[in-house]
Amino acid sequence: MVSVAEKTLVQPTGGLRRRFMTLLYRSEGVRGYALLLPTLLVMIAMLVVPLGTLALQSFWTQIYFKLDHSFTLNNYLQIFDFKQNPIYLVLLFRSIIMSLMVTFFVVITAYPMAYFLAFKVQRHKLVWLILITVPFWTSYLLRVFAWKIILGFQGVINSGLISLGLIDQPLEFLLYNQTSVVITLTHAWAAFAILPIYVSLEKIDRSLLEAATDLGDTPRERFWRVTFPLSMPGVVAAGLLVFIPTVGDYVTPNVVGGTSGIMIGNIIQSLFGKANNAPLGSAVSIVMMAAITLLVCAFLMLIGRRRWKHAET
């Protein structure tokens, strides 16, 4: 910053530039915005503009191959008209429930791994971390297809069980339903949940755990009274990280979901594609985003309230 100041001193001309430099030098805020500028531009170009277009489009109407640009709420009315078109709300509801299940399973599978990594691994933690993420170096699509092979009618599980003589007929409940979607999504997102949970566990001061033991806690009591509450920030972060993107996922239900496993994302995809009704697709997208936002906010407020209450009483 000193060099900037010197420059402004030896440059008596160029009033505007000088004024700007002085401002930059003086004001913390201006410096902050200057730093933020590139990101801000990218965000505006890639996020705000498309979102705005999407929102705008959701108030238009598609008439065969033409777009009617007059403002209408018809798309939204159609979505919320449960008697006529239950499909949108049903799918939205189902997607949220499935995502909640995925989130739950992801957290309970990732937690032990993160716990192991944080407390049991003494050396080479980095190696373990890399090992855990190795399966995720292959493409998402490949992993989803791999599950199709595992769960399929003549897949690994079925043919295995048949050759062992445990069953005569392949189990049909494995593939093309909600279960297979939840299993596949859980596997796909587990690695992303491990990291935040691991970080929050790693941060816990070990003397707190010893203090709990010293004050009479068995290892199990200690976990529920100290370790788990202190790892909550990581669990919440992991949960949000998984929940938000899985609600709108359409690849996994498309590949392993069959007809009973489709989610809201599949409807959006087909509205933009085959059904050729982008305005309605936009409206469904907006409704989905609003639903997720509401849920997440409600959840965060609930946690915040509990903390706040805790601090007060």
């Binding site: 001061d205 003397s207 707190l208 010893e210 203090a211 709990a212 033991t213 010293d214 004050l215 009479g216 806690d217 068995t218 009274r225 100290v226 509450p229 202190l230 805790h310 601090a311 007060e312 009483t313």
Partner: protein, 367 residues
């Protein structure tokens, strides 16, 4: 119930970490109701010994008995001990009340009684009304008291404290030393207190164990430890000490005559652990027992001649460092300015004499 003398009995205790002998074949007893300190330089095994008492480390060899019961295989949550951690380990997700009540759940007392106990504890640590604060709203001294209260409400037989005052500033530390000592007297619980601050150990303890490299060198009361250390290491660690090497040449009027080479012959008491003739010994004298003069002293005292090397003025007292031919280290003399002979200060290159009464010397095994 064990005898009060051996309330905590440590028997041939060792703890090895790989090739490091953190605790090396230690045996001693701690009395019931005693304020007992473990004192020693960094890395001498104090924390390890304390953690063995708490049950966090399993000894490689040896046993620990508390109140007559073998504790060696008892897990930490079942031991009648509680610990005050150096970092205090206040639970950040709980408020002060919940922190103090943490260990009470186990005792199965009612909600009202828990509430009352916690409030009493808050009174005791002089923090009433702080019950609803969270850990991050507390100062270091307050956390320290809460950690203390949290451990004490569990009514342990032994309270273990690992440098609990180490993180406090000097003034607060001195205040807490007094408070802690008073508290210990009033609750009557046996305290085992780890510190590397010798002044702290001397002011607070009933008895002190001086440790070094996994061994216990001496266990004594504060004054005995200061006045009669049993080896050079203890003497060196506690306070400042001047050492003069020599060998026992004979005895005279019940005192040993020491042949101190270039320093001539000196006398020292030799009753406590008598050294035979010709043994290599070290004569140790505290700086404050020495007198410094510009003229040779009379008979009946030990004296050595030298040259004033350096001095420092500390207000109430002054420190002089006298260079004595034949000694590698300068002799340190501390004298009260109220009684001091003031012309020493500008003695220039003139010789000075350092003298001390024969009884002030301590004979230690030589090296």
């Amino acid at each position: 119930m064990a005898a009060d003398e051996s309330f905590i009995a440590i028997r041939n205790l060792s703890k090895h970490f790989g090739s490091v002998k953190a605790v090396d074949d230690i045996s001693f007893n701690i009395r019931r109701g005693e304020f007992f300190s473990l004192l020693g330089p960094s890395g001498c095994g104090k924390t390890t010994l304390l953690r063995i008492l708490a049950g966090f480390e399993i000894p490689t060899k040896g046993d620990v008995l508390i109140d007559g019961q073998d504790m060696t295989t008892v897990p930490p949550h079942l031991r009648p001990t509680n610990m005050v951690f150096q970092s205090y380990a206040i639970f950040p997700h709980l408020d002060v009340k919940q922190n103090i009540a943490y260990g009470l759940r186990k005792t199965g007392i009612s909600k009202e009684e828990t509430e009352r106990t916690v409030n009493e504890a808050l009174e005791m640590i002089k923090l009433p009304g702080y019950g609803n604060r969270r850990a991050d709203q507390l100062s270091g001294g307050q956390r320290q008291r809460i950690a203390l209260a949290r451990a004490l409400v569990c009514k342990p037989k032994v309270l273990l404290l690992d440098e609990p005052l180490g993180a406090l500033d000097k003034k607060l530390r001195e205040e807490m030393q007094l408070e802690l000592r008073q508290l210990q007297r009033s609750v009557g619980i046996t305290f085992v207190f780890v510190t590397h601050d010798q002044e702290e150990a001397l002011t607070m303890s009933d008895r002190i164990a001086v440790m070094s490299r996994g061994k216990v060198l001496q266990i004594e009361t504060s004054s005995r430890l200061y006045e009669a250390p049993n080896c050079r290491e203890v003497a060196d660690f506690i306070g400042t000490m001047n050492f003069i090497d020599g060998s026992v040449a004979g005895s005279e009027n019940g005192y040993a005559v020491i042949d101190a080479g270039p320093l001539g012959s000196l006398r020292a008491p030799n009753a406590e652990r008598p050294f035979e003739r010709n043994r290599r010994v070290t004569l140790a004298v505290r700086p404050e027992k020495l007198r410094i003069e510009t003229a040779p002293p009379g008979d009946g005292t030990n004296s050595v001649a030298g040259k004033l090397g350096a001095q420092s003025y500390l207000g109430d007292r002054s420190h002089f460092y006298v260079e004595v031919p034949g000694m590698t280290k300068r002799i340190a003399v501390a004298s009260q300015n109220a009684t001091r002979n003031l012309d020493i200060t500008d003695s220039g290159d003139r010789p000075v004499w350092v003298s001390w009464p024969v009884e002030s010397g301590v004979l230690l095994p030589g090296e």
